[in-house]
Amino acid sequence: MNSHYGCCHPIQCILPPHVVEAIKLRGDEEQRKMAEALAKQAEATRESRQEATPPDSFLAAPVLAMGVAPAVNREVYDGKRRATLPGTLVRAEGEDPVDDPVVNQVYDLTGDVFNLYFDIYRRNSLDGQGSTIVSTVHHRRRYNNAFWNGTQMAYGDGDGTLFQTFVEASVVGHELSHAVVQYSGGLVYRDQAGALNESFADVFGSLSKQYTLRQTAAEADWLVGQGILGPDINGVALRSMKAPGTAYDDSTLGKDPQPYHMDFYLNTSSDNGGVHINSGIPNHAFYLVSQYLGGYAWEKAGQIWYDTMQVINNPLATFNDWADKTVEMARERFGAGSMETVLTRRAWKLVGVDL
């Protein structure tokens, strides 16, 4: 069933040098730095994979060797409302819960995300090689954000008015999935490639919540950040994959700007070219495929999207490049005339990405 992995060659699978060169030549300064950082990351990943695995077992997605019993390895740090990372280690893997419930929530939710990637996609942690997952809670004062900084996760507490917390299942899954993108060759965090990076993080953030709750596509809420908005905010979440553009409409936050269709694609220079906005389009395509196929979304739609991330090998991918690859992955795994292939293509068409 992993036939498409057969094409993979160790040096080409993560990031082809000509792509990096192309970005260096035509990208702007900031984009060039992002591409270089990704290339450096890919080089380091390649080197450590060469040490860790025999030559014939190189795979775009490092799949577990037989007989290896991997286990999650978590470290949760307390940032104590300061900016220094990672802060003070308060709970390492296997240790008992501590008094601070936020620490325990991050510990548990991180384990849930690890389980999705390991149980379903046989991925051993963020880098595929059992890396320790490092998280800092209580980052900065009243900080209204959570992020992946290339090495670790950090979660603010929110200001209590606009946001109550950032420690929520789909947000934790979102941030960890950014790491999976990075270790899979990466998608430059700008314009359509950046929106695909954001969308992958939303998709697998939502899937890790669905997997933990054993929800079918029909039962899931398809929200990212459900419940994290403050009590007086008119909204339910940060984003809705089911109905992009409807997550909030508030006097302070404004209205959820996400489009669900290419007709409403937003050309903007802020937010790295609208990466959190235009991600609504691929988000909705994933939602549609999941609804069409029914059952558990992580089984088929999630597998197609995960496979795509492992083989696309193009950090500057456009929506069309990505959509093309999802159809190819559906065909390889489920067959050319399969419902999976036909419905994947149809979902893209419905959001205006015509293949």
């Binding site: 900016a83 954000n145 992020f147 090495t151």
Partner: protein, 105 residues
């Protein structure tokens, strides 16, 4: 002196508003005067982002002086390790703007 502030939170949400220096609580007003100097702001705006970081916040600050003969100053800042002192004051200002907005409504 009037401060216009826009913060892109890093999760796709943009917050913005303005406030007079004289409307800030005393402690914060003192911090603003000590920290948001032209030298500090210029240095903070030059801080480089970590290229692998995603979901980073972005800040835009415009300072309108009381004297109409003086020009307004505009700064754009990103999350970086070496400008946190300035960003934290900006977070506190936004918190005050939001608190007042929500208090009025």
């Amino acid at each position: 002196m009037k401060l216009f502030l826009r913060i892109f939170t890093g999760q796709g949400i943009t917050l913005q508003g303005e406030i007079n220096l004289s409307d800030l609580p005393n402690d914060l007003a003192r911090q603003v005067q000590a920290t948001l100097t032209p030298e500090n702001l210029t240095a903070a705006a030059a801080a480089q982002p970590n290229p692998l970081m995603v979901d980073a916040s972005e800040y835009e600050l415009v300072i309108h002086p009381d004297d109409p003969n003086q020009t307004s100053q505009r700064y754009e800042l990103v999350d970086a390790d070496d400008n946190i002192d300035v960003l934290e004051v900006l977070d506190d200002i936004m918190h005050e703007i939001v608190r007042r907005k929500k208090g009025q409504s």
